[in-house]
């Protein structure tokens, strides 16, 4: 049973325009659909870390995947950026547009629980090592009670990491995966992952090569044309589809028109 919920995930990444996303999502809300906005904060985290003199380190996984090393200082900056900068800006923008929105992090009322990865493997200077001070982890449970309460009251939930860890400390979790897990748990009709590209490209160097549809391979997401930040979006898409979300789109978040077209289903790549 579906009740018309659309989960929209916006970056995070530089290039995705928050005001454009808010305007399009607000229009969706005004049209009687029930959007939920999930956001990251990667660009703001980088900017704030620079101002605070916190060095953000990267870890290269054994498979070559690059990720932020969320040590204690990076976690603090990440929470500041997510909850103290990006979320208030989005919620205020919705307020300006007359759409009542409410900001949530995974810490609120058990919304997102995670198991911290107390040991991760990484390659540092060409050597594989065990990293023990990382505060990122895997989502273990999503409780849709609070966002559903807000939706039923006509409010637009604006959701982000961190999640609450088993020890009660915040845990960094990937926002694309949060969006997918939330879409599953809310039995959303659609998941729209916005990015700084028009969708999945057949040729990563040609934005005109956007695919209308992309069929996930039976295992993994391996495709030479798909790399970088798209990989986790495809993993999140698979998770949403396997969890019963009927429609998953990866689409352009860089302009209001692009987001409106994505929400109308006339642009972006439909994942199957």
């Amino acid at each position: 049973m579906s009740d018309g919920i659309t989960v929209v995930k916006c970056g995070g990444a530089a290039g995705v325009d928050p005001a454009a996303v808010c305007a399009a999502v607000a229009a969706e809300s005004a049209a009687g659909r029930r959007p939920v906005l999930v956001h990251g904060a990667s660009a703001e985290t980088t900017a704030l870390a620079g101002r605070l003199g916190v060095r953000l380190r990267e870890l290269t996984g054994p498979g070559g995947e690059v990720s932020r090393h969320t040590d204690a200082a990076a976690l603090e900056v990440l929470v500041l950026a997510l909850a103290g900068r990006v979320k208030p800006a989005l919620v205020a923008e919705f307020g300006r547009l007359g759409v009542p929105a409410a900001g949530l992090t995974g810490l609120d009322a058990g919304l997102l629980r995670a198991r911290r990865s107390t040991t991760v493997r990484a390659v540092v200077d060409g050597r594989e090592v065990v990293v023990r001070d990382d505060h990122s982890g895997r989502l273990t449970r999503v409780d849709p009670t609070l966002p559903r309460l807000l939706l039923d009251a006509g409010l637009l939930p604006v959701v982000s990491p961190p999640a609450l860890g088993e020890d009660g400390a915040p845990v960094n979790v990937n926002a694309d995966r949060v969006a997918a897990a939330l879409a599953v748990s809310l039995r959303a009709e659609r998941l729209v992952l916005l990015t700084a590209a028009p969708g999945v490209l057949a040729d990563p160097y040609d934005e005109r090569s956007v695919r209308r549809d992309y069929r996930l391979p039976p295992r993994g997401v391996a495709d030479p044309a798909v790399g970088g930040g798209m990989t986790v979006k495809l993993l999140a898409s698979r998770q949403a589809l396997e969890g019963g979300v009927p429609e998953v789109l990866i689409a352009d978040g860089r302009s209001g028109d692009a987001v409106r077209q994505a929400l109308a289903g006339t642009a972006g790549t439909r994942i199957a």
Binding site: G12, G40, A41, S42, T45, L59, G61, P62, E65, S67, R68, T70, L78, L82, S117, T118, T119, V120, R121, V124, R127, E128, V129, V130, V131, R132, H135, S136, G137, R138, L139, P161, V171, N172, V173, N174, A175, R177
Partner: protein, 61 residues
């Protein structure tokens, strides 16, 4: 210039000898040549090995 010496350490899984060169760093993963176990350098002086922890797959934002 680093001074590269080699020490031999007992593998905690098969008790075979594992050669560790002195440029090895704490928390580095090495493989036992005999039993193929993944081992973690949990101490440098004295050089101490333990079975490496399983990989936690997920990364954050």
């Amino acid at each position: 210039m680093s001074d590269v010496g080699v020490s031999e350490v007992r593998c905690p899984a098969c008790e075979g000898d594992v050669e560790i060169d002195s440029s090895t760093r704490q928390f580095e993963i090495v493989e036992c040549p005999d039993c193929r176990s993944e081992l973690e350098v949990i101490g440098l002086s004295p050089m101490t090995l333990a079975l490496a922890p399983e990989v936690d797959e997920d990364w954050g934002e």
